[in-house]
Point group: C2
Chain length 254, copies 2
DNA sequence: TCAGGTCTGTCCACTTGTGCACACAGGACC
DNA sequence: GGTCCTGTGTGCACAAGTGGACAGACCTGA
């Protein structure tokens, strides 16, 4: 929270985060004095279970955060991805409650931050601002519901393809995802050898290529054909709920 | 919404729902004029995807609601159970948004209902009331996160035991759960024959017994040993977050 | 009391995913 | 140029879960 401050008041200097960019000028002005942007590295923890949630983090540009649920055997389970379409920390709880999940930076980059108390104060002053955040909270909820269903019934192959597409949409990188097989396996909650095998089958079909530490996408449409429709379902909800807040060309979810 | 009204002002005549029972007298008084209690049958739909969410439903006594995520192939996936520890509809979204999931009455019984606009108006007048609902929203979120992780890594056997325990805790019925194998299979997102086999293995171990249309619990502790710890994790979060709102002996979750 | 519908138990062949093991490849560092 | 470490490809035996099939049990209603 002590990096360079960016108290932007003009649209073009706003952080590259859809939630912040699409606020009315008046609403953004309420937040601007309290918003700070700083760079964050991959694997940095934003919250751990039990932490007091006091700061809202907005991934900007290619930054990506993920919610991890700790498990009794020590291995965390990844649930949802949040990129520049949203924010993490105190969105539903409104802060000052112990965090339930671990929130971790998946892909590093800039994050805009604001103290929960400042955001809540601004919401008190502006019903439209409160409304935007309530709507986003609902979208995030939809994302988690979909993820629950997805984990229950979709195959690892479908979920692998889904995850790759969701990550690419958020980071803007159309050709590569910086992930080892081990990391992919962990985030899908499967064994490493099976994850390798799924990637191998995609490779055989010309959809992807593997490099040490990253996965290259050769055929995005092929990936889409192999993914479940969970991303699309959530995206439609984002569009419907945040219509007027997000313009059509910037909608992103999954 | 047109059944007999129960404008209770005294604690003892409040609906048997923890969220409502544990409000301060002043906070409950704000809601009471708008609360109606009516009976609901199993399988009744409270919301379907796309519906305008305008009424908050509080399961009372043994009533149980469930959130279903529709799937491309037509079979819904059950996600979380909500009983008298909570409420469904507009908890996170604050209403007037299209519902993302289907919300269905799993076990029938009384539900208290209040219009979202009345609840939101009361929240505007009472920060403590707003606070209780924000806290409950956070608990519900934790429940869904845990469910996502559970579906990713726990076996059908563990999840079957977990579900049975969660249902029993909420309904108060310690010995039986009214469910066919088919229904159990559907809510776990697995095939019927496999669900039967799991029940059969529990039966062989003396944990439960099967009847046509219901499952009898013979050894609750045995069930607990075979369940994952997801229920307990969520219960702890409920207890921590709603401490002071819910007394210890009434905490329930899962 | 018989018929018909639903629910239950079980069989089987099959697919998906596990967990371990091991050889080898790609970089990084000296 | 070698060393070491991490990451990758693959083989294998096994466990978990699928989906269709079918006989029999239970309940209800005529």
């Amino acid at each position: 929270m002590d990096a360079r401050t960016s108290n932007a008041t003009e649209i073009d200097s706003r952080p590259i985060n859809n939630l912040l960019r699409r606020l009315s000028a008046a609403d953004f002005a309420l937040l601007a004095p309290h918003v700070m942007v700083e760079s964050t590295a991959a694997n940095e923890l934003l919250y751990s279970p039990g932490d007091d949630v006091q700061v809202v983090h907005f991934p900007c540009g290619p930054s990506l955060a993920t919610f991890l649920v700790p498990n009794e055997d020590g291995r965390d389970v990844e649930t949802i991805l949040v990129g520049r379409e949203g924010a993490v920390g105190g969105i539903v709880s409104e802060g000052y409650l112990p965090a339930y999940t671990r929130i971790c930076v998946k892909f590093g980059g800039p994050f805009a931050r604001i103290h929960v108390s400042k955001l809540e104060a601004a919401k008190q002053r502006s019903p439209s601002l409160r409304h935007v955040f309530a709507r986003y909270a609902d979208c995030m909820l939809a994302q988690i519901f979909q993820s629950t269903a997805c984990n229950a019934i979709h195959s690892i192959e479908q979920r692998t393809a889904k995850w790759m597409l969701a990550a690419m949409e958020r980071t803007g990188d159309e050709s590569s995802v910086p992930l080892t097989h081990e990391q992919l396996a962990t985030l899908l909650g499967v064994g490493r050898s099976y994850a390798s095998r799924v990637l191998q089958s995609f490779k055989a079909e010309g959809v992807l290529d593997t490099r040490r530490g990253s996965i290259l996408v050769r055929n995005r449409e092929g990936l889409r054909l192999r993914a479940c429709l969970c991303n699309e379902a959530v995206k439609m909800h984002f569009e419907e709920v945040l219509r007027g807040v997000y313009p059509t060309e910037e909608r992103e979810a999954g």
